[in-house]
């Protein structure tokens, strides 16, 4: 079956020069991760300690208000908190008491730091400790920062998961930890495949419920499903766990490489792995091929958004036949995306950070067939005649592993097909 996969490029992008820019960043801050994390962890509540802007961001980034009371909220700092008239810690304790009294279902509470709370140096770690002692054992209180001065978009999830690592119980068991918040459907498929391959002890971080035991130790190997988990990676290594480097499980090739790397780490014979994945691989290829008809030969430009850009560029160039012009990422962790960079053929500009005005100049000059960008840029670029794909959909949609490979490709194909479909001129 390997005949379908092109050989790795002679020269990948791992050592390509990186264009580093700073200026206006057209990206979300790390608080945005709460939008999907609060759905993933069903007994967790995320309490942002911040300003009205933070609250407004959360409800605007969600696009629509979530029907029913969401499991997140903002403790909005007011003038009296800043002027030192009120003891911010006491205020926070009061708000948390009220919240937990109202919400008996909450087992984990995350105090999430924001730009204002960081600037005024509110010690949320200490607050979390005190609150944990107060509400134990029913509720565990943790803290992390999702502030824009420290985190970019998906780094909020990274900070959240990294904050959970030190609290995990020790274990010497030989086990696999799958790390990253995935939609349940994709996660279940992955766990099923891994079980069929013969890995019997698997845990997932983050777990869906607080009482699911997730342990870690020197015999734990971990595989990341998301490219933005640099801090969590470091935290797990500090606990003695070992990272399994692999391309990210996007598309047929990425998923296969990811599963094989995990199997290798557990000493499982590749022939056995291949027997398990043969059928889903074929299905994934077939599904991708359909969307690739639209994508093949088309040029592609990534604005930085989620850190998924490099793995996705690898998928779109190698499996869908696209040509990358620029691949921008907010940060590039080579320890994580190195295997994907190896597979991405040398050629595109690899950029890190952003000066949005300069990048827009490059994009306009390149006139790519498809531009992947955030919500603030998509409509303005469409109005200029470019075809765009909103990046945020990539973190909200099941796109990992074999059965979603076709969906992933069609997320990119749909705007292009739409451009071809619309006939808005007079008939003549």
């Amino acid at each position: 079956m390997t005949r379908h996969t092109p050989p790795p490029p002679a020269l990948g992008c791992r050592h390509a020069p990186i264009l580093k820019e700073r200026g206006q960043h057209e990206v979300f801050c790390g608080l945005t991760g709460i939008i999907w994390l609060h759905r993933k962890m069903q007994d967790a509540f995320f309490l942002v300690v911040g300003s009205r802007t933070c609250a407004h961001l959360l409800q605007s980034a969600a696009g629509v208000m979530i029907f029913a009371e969401p499991r997140f909220g903002t403790a909005i700092l007011e003038e009296s908190d800043l002027a030192g008239l009120a003891d911010a810690h006491e205020e926070l304790e009061r708000e948390v008491d009220r919240l937990l009294a109202r919400r008996g279902d909450i087992r984990q509470l995350f105090l999430v730091g924001s730009c204002p709370s960081e600037v005024i140096k509110l010690d949320l770690a200490r607050a979390a400790e005190r609150l944990s002692a107060r509400h134990a054992p029913r509720v565990r209180v943790l803290n992390y920062s999702g502030s824009g001065i420290e985190t970019t978009f998906t780094e909020g999830e990274d900070a959240c998961l990294a904050a959970m690592v030190p609290t995990l119980p020790d274990s010497d068991a030989r086990q696999l930890m799958v790390v990253g918040a995935l939609p349940d459907v994709a996660e279940d498929q992955a766990l099923d495949l891994l079980a069929q391959i013969g890995i019997d002890k698997i845990t997932v971080l983050p777990a869906r419920h607080a009482d699911t035991e997730v342990s870690v130790g020197p015999n734990t190997s971990f595989a990341l499903t998301q490219a933005f988990l640099g801090g969590t990676h470091a935290a797990l290594e500090r606990r003695g766990a070992r990272h399994i480097p692999a391309p990210f499980p996007f598309g047929e090739e990425g998923t296969t490489a990811w599963l094989r790397a995990v199997a290798r780490d557990f000493g499982i014979d590749q022939a056995h792995v291949d027997a398990v994945i043969d059928a889903p691989r074929a299905r994934a290829r077939k599904a991708v091929a359909k969307a690739a008809e639209t994508l093949s030969g088309k040029s592609l430009f990534f604005f930085p958004d989620s850190q998924m850009e490099i793995p996705l560029a690898r998928f779109l160039t190698r499996e869908c036949g696209m040509e990358a012009v620029e691949v921008g990422a907010p940060y590039i962790h080579k320890a994580l995306v190195g295997p994907d960079l190896d597979l991405l053929a040398d050629g595109p500009v690899i950029s890190e950070g952003q000066d949005v005005e300069l990048q827009l100049d490059r994009c306009r000059a390149a006139q790519p067939d498809l531009t992947v960008c955030g919500l603030g840029l998509a409509n303005p670029l469409e109005a200029e005649g470019l075809c765009t794909k909103w990046a945020i959909e990539l973190v909200f949609t099941p796109v990992h592993f074999y059965e979603q490979a076709g969906d992933l490709a069609s997320l990119f194909a749909r705007p292009m097909r739409r451009h071809n479909l619309l006939k808005l001129e007079a008939a003549e």
């Binding site: 005005e357 603030g376 469409e382």
Partner: protein
């Protein structure tokens, strides 16, 4: 510190953004960390604007703090001027930048830019979005508007419409037509569509039309004092208000009051017998002060509804809204906490909510139909079709919009008669909404209901505790025959009645005894 889940208004710099985005030739340099750029999508996605808002965010990071955030601001200012060549710039800080006290206004003024630079002081921890818009327009007008000769023809400025406003785009067209019919031309409409140069010509008009007090009042008051421009106090939303507005304009200008009402349909539609079923419908009105005030008058005087509750989220309008509530015999709800609003609506158990997108969600949860009358807005509030709220066409639009969510006349009777029909029943909602309408369940006015699209139901705190008294099956079936909008109240009253008497079970008799008891 105050816990908030959803907010009615953004921070004040978002108000400034609404002014900047509505204008042309103006640029806003905002000292802000990364992430604050989310505000761009309010305009590009919700309002579907085809341009980026004219804003440069300085995007400082943790490592810049204490070193060169001030320098970052200066560089951003220079680059913005260089690239966009605006006629004027506004500069200010978002909530985080306010804390690091770089004084963007002071810095920008010393930079020797060849254009007017208007510094904004918007206290992020005290005030909100509407204040930010109002203050920004006021500062712009104060700086740019000059006293000048009046135009020969009678002209007016339209003051207050902004980007991301509720139907502002179409209200401008409608009010312009109202004025034109009286022989009045529009001198400048601001901020919507105006350039800084246009603002300098504001003084040429004979008077101002204050379209939205929330975002235009400070500017109008300043122009009244410093440029001698009177401004209108009536907001022409509704038939009566539109007629009053025309009379007010006539009084200010000395021109004859003329209104072309040949396309006005609300009065006849409201009088026609099909509308009899609207009589006394109990409505709860919540939104910004201006839209609530105008909606209350329409609801009572033009639709024949009964106003059972009203309030606004913007404290700036608390006084007029309180006075109005008194006139309507209800207590005003002045709150920006949507949980308070939800509780008040559940308590009042209205048949229709006139509210914002927040109340639309509350209505979904409580099973009460809702029509949206005010910001905060959603992408749905920017329809492709012409859909004003003001003037003659605005009144027509409002009639349709408010009636649409309701179950119509005869259908309502049939529902009452055949309450247990398996497909034509109360829980099915209005038939013209198809299956999408949320079903109403038995009495649980504040009970959570299953989420849509497969999401699990959320546990919400206010879930009714019905543990103490047990409803017998027959009584529960009988309860379902009571119209949904009073069912919650009936359920609570019956339970209170039962527990006062130490009853452990509720039978049909208990239900009707309670009904008789509370009827007294």
């Amino acid at each position: 510190m105050k816990l908030s889940v959803w907010t009615y208004e953004g921070p004040p710099h978002v108000g400034a953004l609404r002014v900047a985005t509505a204008m042309q030739g103006l640029h806003y340099v905002l000292h802000a960390p990364q992430g604050d750029t989310y505000a761009d999508l309010l305009f590009t996605m919700i309002e579907r604007r085809n341009h980026r808002p004219p804003v440069t965010y300085t995007t400082f990071q943790a490592r810049d703090l204490g070193s060169d955030t001030a320098n970052l601001f200066k560089t951003a200012c220079e680059a913005a001027y260089e690239r966009f060549q605006p006629q004027a710039m506004i500069v200010g800080a978002s909530c985080t930048a306010e804390l690091i006290q770089d004084d963007p206004g002071g810095m920008a003024e010393t930079m020797g830019m060849p254009i007017p630079i208007i510094p904004l002081e918007l206290p992020s921890y005290q005030r909100k979005e509407n204040f930010g818009a109002d203050e920004t327009l006021f500062q712009l007008v104060r700086r740019l508007a000059q006293p000048m000769e009046r135009t020969e023809q009678v002209t007016a400025n339209l003051i207050g419409p902004t980007a991301l406003g509720f139907r502002h785009r179409d209200d401008i067209t409608e009010v312009t037509a109202l004025l034109n019919h009286m022989g009045i031309a529009v001198n400048v409409c601001a901020p919507y569509g105006a350039t800084p140069e246009d603002l300098s010509r504001l003084g040429a008009a004979h008077f101002n039309v204050l379209m939205y007090p929330e975002t235009g009042e400070a500017a109008c008051r300043w122009m009244e004092r410093d440029l001698g421009l009177p401004f209108t106090k009536t907001v022409p939303i509704g038939v009566g208000a539109t007629r009053d507005f025309v009379n007010e304009v006539a009084q200010i200008t000395g021109l004859a009051a003329k209104l072309d009402d040949s396309r006005l349909r609300l009065p006849w539609y409201s009088a026609s017998v099909d509308s009899t079923y609207l009589t006394g419908k109990r409505v709860f009105i919540f939104g910004d002060g201006t839209h609530v005030t105008t909606a209350a008058r329409i609801a009572r005087d033009e639709m024949g509804f009964e106003v059972v509750g009203l309030g606004c989220y913007n404290r700036e309008m608390a006084r007029p809204v309180r006075a109005l509530a008194k006139e309507y015999g209800v207590e005003a709800l002045i709150s920006d906490d949507h949980l308070d609003v939800e509780a008040a609506i559940a308590e009042a158990a209205p048949e229709l909510i006139l509210g914002t997108q927040m109340e639309r969600h509350i209505g979904k949860r409580l099973g009460i139909p809702c029509a949206v009358i005010s910001s905060p807005v959603h992408v749905q509030d920017f329809p492709a079709r012409y859909s004003p709220q003001m003037g003659i066409e605005g009144a027509n639009v409002i009639f349709d919009t408010w009636v649409h969510p309701l179950v119509m006349g005869l259908e309502e009777h049939l529902l009452t008669m055949f309450r247990e029909d398996f497909e034509f029943h109360d829980d099915a909602g209005a038939s013209h909404h198809g299956g999408a309408h949320v079903a109403r369940d038995a009495g649980g006015l504040s009970a959570p209901r299953p989420g849509q699209a497969g999401t699990p139901p959320e546990d919400i705190s206010e879930q009714e505790k019905t543990g103490e008294v047990i409803w017998l099956d027959a009584a529960e079936r009988e309860l379902k025959k009571i119209p949904f909008f009073v069912r919650g109240k009936a359920k609570r009253n019956t339970e209170a009645f039962a527990s006062e008497r130490g009853l452990e079970e509720i039978s049909i008799d208990t239900l009707y005894e309670a009904k008789a008891h509370y009827a007294r």
